[in-house]
């Protein structure tokens, strides 16, 4: 079965590294670098999981997540948030917005892989 992940990240070299890691792990990886139309992209691609940066051009990842969770068919979509803003208040804000997992930069590849696999497995059991 083809597992699909949409990576919304405006740092091209981070995106490239994550794409490589996940592709090697059997994921079909879509890339998107802009916040403005991120929700349209999610709707169009219907991924199994979203990796979302917070500081994106056009629109904050936090706002995108809030809007996603307000949509009935997006409430259970696993969202892994990656951010350089790792203060407690940012984590709290993400949790209140409905994030599935919150990870701060710089992260390790193993952490990202494990988080993606766990979230997908949890979604499958739900």
């Amino acid at each position: 079965m083809n597992r699909r992940v949409l990576l919304i990240e405006d740092e091209p070299n981070i995106a490239e590294a994550i794409r490589f890691l996940l592709s090697r792990d059997g994921w079909q990886v879509g890339l998107h670098a802009d916040g403005t139309d991120a929700i349209d992209q999610i709707r169009a691609e219907r991924p199994d999981l979203v990796i979302l940066d917070v500081m994106l051009p056009g629109r904050s990842g936090m706002d995108i997540l809030r809007d996603l969770r307000a949509m009935e068919d997006m409430q259970d979509l696993p969202v892994l948030m990656l951010t350089a803003r790792g203060q407690l208040r940012d984590r709290d804000m993400a949790e209140r917005a409905g994030v599935s997992r919150f990870m701060t930069k710089p992260f390790s590849n193993a952490e990202v892989l494990t988080a993606v696999r766990d979230l997908h497995a949890q979604a499958g059991r739900a």
Partner: protein
């Protein structure tokens, strides 16, 4: 026990420090050991020749024995007691503690001063990390580049062959990110160096204007002389928003100076003292203008410092003149309990509050505030208010004479455990 009744304890302490036996000291000054014992336990008063003789024998000034620890030490100990959470110190015995254990008292006082200094540093850094857009963007850049390097380097370091196409691409990315990291780190260090060296980091127009006004000592003799803002005075502020804000501030200054010439203000101050309402009536100007004028006078015309805060009806601070001991956050929201905000709830009503800032020091301030409309009244038109607050430090010998309203600087750095006005948790709470 009052300070002057502890002379005996201090004699005992000094004698023990000097390593002199009680009997030897008694013999030296011509009294019995049992009488000295009563003195040392504060059961006999001592003064005059005997005190001088004992002081000489112990090699200290008589005042060291009769007055004991310095007032500053006692004040620091009282501050430490006031800041203690869920512990009640025996403040009525603070003199006794300082007199009997001067070394420990000094250690505690130094720790209290250090805590106050560190709290100020935390306030500044937290403020900057949270609200300084340039710093936040720089840190984001550094962390994002570090993330890319870490991730790419880990892929390249994995055992086994990587396809040449991917390997070359990752090498190229790594090289780009390393250069980018070097540049962004250099820029960040440069920014921090610049702001460490400068008391007033530049960047936000309002801050630039405040720094500009502060650099002139909040007083502009050139405007006082001519009644107008000289064209070249604003050249330091460049051409953008800072210059425009600076121009508005100086035009207000010029109008105030014209309405209240400095000689008239000085005469009114001589006559009424620092009483803004009396000054307002005497000079025929509104209270907000008097507050602004007092805050912009040369230092020698006032008995002490005068701080100023002006905010608009949204509570946004438009102008600050800091005053020693009264913490004002550089960025973000201030404590909603400040009288400058209370005044907005009762427009055109003068409000006077004696305030103390929680967890900082025993300093108190008389805050005089009033909200005043910016426009003339008109039908079908809601007035737009600005609130102005003059901050006058209370002289140290009058501190504690009136009930003081406890306020903070901003919620993030306020230690108050329960406050109806709290917006967010404090970083000084136990969780920090």
């Amino acid at each position: 026990m009052s300070r002057d009744t502890l002379t005996g304890s201090r004699i005992r302490e000094r004698r023990l420090i000097a390593g002199i036996r009680q009997a030897d000291l008694a013999r030296n000054v011509g009294i019995s050991a049992s009488y000295l014992n009563l003195i040392e336990h504060n059961r006999r008063r001592i003064g005059g020749k005997l005190l001088n003789a004992i002081a000489e024998a112990l090699g200290v000034e008589p005042s060291m024995l009769s007055e004991g620890a310095e007032a500053a030490l006692i004040a620091a100990l009282r501050e430490a007691a006031a800041d203690a959470v869920s512990v009640s110190a025996e403040t009525d015995r603070v003199d006794e503690f300082a007199g009997r254990f001067p070394g420990w008292a000094e250690v505690l006082a130094q720790a209290q001063r250090r805590i106050a200094s560190l709290e100020r540093t935390v306030v500044t850094l937290s403020d900057r990390l949270t609200h300084d857009p340039h710093l936040a963007a720089s840190l984001h850049e550094v962390l994002s580049t570090a993330a890319a390097i870490r991730s790419t380097a880990a892929i390249l370091a994995e055992p086994g062959e990587l396809e040449a196409q991917w390997r070359d691409r990752f090498h190229r990315n790594l090289n780009q990110d390393a250069e980018r990291l070097a540049e962004s780190s250099k820029a960040l260090v440069g920014y921090l160096d610049q702001t460490e060296q400068s008391e007033d980091p530049r960047g936000v127009p309002q801050e630039e204007v405040e720094a500009f006004v502060a650099a002139h000592g909040h007083h502009f003799p050139a405007i006082e002389a001519g009644g107008e803002v000289p064209g070249d005075l604003l050249d330091d502020l460049g051409r953008g928003a800072s210059r425009e804000i600076g121009r508005m501030v100086l035009e207000t200054y010029a109008a105030d100076a014209q309405a209240m010439p400095i000689e008239a203000v000085a005469a009114a101050l001589d006559h009424h003292g620092l009483e803004p309402v009396a000054l307002s009536r005497d000079l025929g100007v509104e209270l907000p203008a008097v507050f602004r004028r007092l805050a912009g006078l040369p230092e020698d015309l006032l008995p002490g410092e005068a701080g100023l805060v002006i905010c608009d009806a949204s509570g946004s601070i438009l102008f600050r003149k800091p005053v020693t001991g009264f913490a004002m956050p550089r960025h973000g929201e201030s404590c909603p309990l400040w009288p400058v905000f209370t005044a907005l709830t009762r427009p055109m009503t003068p409000i006077r509050r004696r305030v103390a800032q929680l967890g900082r020091s025993r300093a108190e301030f008389d805050c005089l505030a009033i909200a005043w409309p910016r426009s003339l009244p008109d039908f079908d038109c809601d007035p737009v208010y600005r609130s102005t607050m003059l901050i006058l430090p209370v002289p140290s010998d009058r501190v504690g004479q009136e009930d003081a309203l406890q306020v903070g600087s901003s919620c993030r750095v306020c230690p108050s455990p329960s406050c109806a006005a709290r917006r967010e948790p404090s970083i000084l709470s136990e969780g920090f």
